[in-house]
């Protein structure tokens, strides 16, 4: 499936991208709270997305302890295509099931 993105696909990264797509800008502590993983594990996941150019990471100007995450334009596009590809796989399932029931799937 062409739209599937190997950077986004792992569950934690997918959830991070989903949160950022839904809320535009999310503080890192909120992401951590909803992912239920260790800070170092979260840092690695976020770093992978930042390195791929999919996520922007910025420190708050007024409080440097707070880190804000948002999707870049490339990240938003990759996420949208990834979700579309997942939906396509799910949508194709009845055809495959029908093939198993006797009708050959083309």
């Amino acid at each position: 499936m062409s739209g599937l993105d190997p950077v986004i696909h792992p569950t934690h990264r997918l959830r991070i991208c989903a949160m950022l797509a839904a809320a535009t800008t999310v503080e890192l502590s909120v992401v951590k709270e909803h992912l239920d993983i260790t800070p170092s594990a979260l840092s690695k996941q976020v770093a992978s997305l930042v390195d791929a150019g999919y996520v922007r990471q910025e420190r708050s100007r007024t409080d440097t302890r707070r880190v804000w995450l948002s999707l870049t334009r490339a990240g938003a596009t990759a996420y949208r295509e990834h979700v579309a590809a997942l939906r396509e796989i799910v949508a194709l399932e009845p055809v495959a099931t029908a093939g198993l029931d006797g009708e050959p799937a083309s």
Binding site: R15, M19, T24, R87
Partner: protein, 138 residues
């Protein structure tokens, strides 16, 4: 589909993860005090039409409403998240509509009571949505 692609079950599970993550972040709880403050601000938005014929009072109340909510949003870590509760969203848009109706009533009539009535409707409409939001996020 290639052999490396997820199965339909795995894809469905991934979509469920997405839905769950987005609901969690969009339904971040609000501080309780914000509900009555917003309800009063929506009422004031309508009543501001009685203060002067220009829109400066309404603009000031609208600005305060935006600043208060965005500030609270930043403190919560999700300044731009739109809650999932449809009742809440209808409540917000309904309250805004009542405030506009109050402003129109102030221009069309010399009487104050229609403006007060529509402003009260704005407060009540937002409050109904607020209760739904609180129940969805608490």
């Amino acid at each position: 589909m290639t052999s490396n692609d997820p199965t339909p079950d795995a894809a469905r599970a991934a979509l469920a993860e997405i839905d769950d993550a987005q609901r969690a972040v969009r339904n971040t709880p609000w501080p309780v005090w914000l509900y009555p403050v917003n309800a009063v601000l929506f009422g004031l938005l309508g009543l501001a039409s009685l203060l002067d014929s220009t829109s400066s009072a309404r603009f000031a109340v609208a600005l305060v409403t935006v600043v208060v909510n965005v500030t609270v949003g930043y403190r919560s870590g999700v300044p731009w998240a739109l809650p999932t509760s449809r009742v809440f969203l209808v409540g917000v848009f309904g309250a805004g509509a009542w405030a506009v109706v109050a402003a129109v009533a102030a221009q069309l009539s010399d009487r104050a009571w229609p403006v007060v009535l529509f402003s009260l409707a704005a407060t009540v409409t937002f409050s109904v949505g607020a209760i739904a939001h609180r129940r969805a996020t608490a």
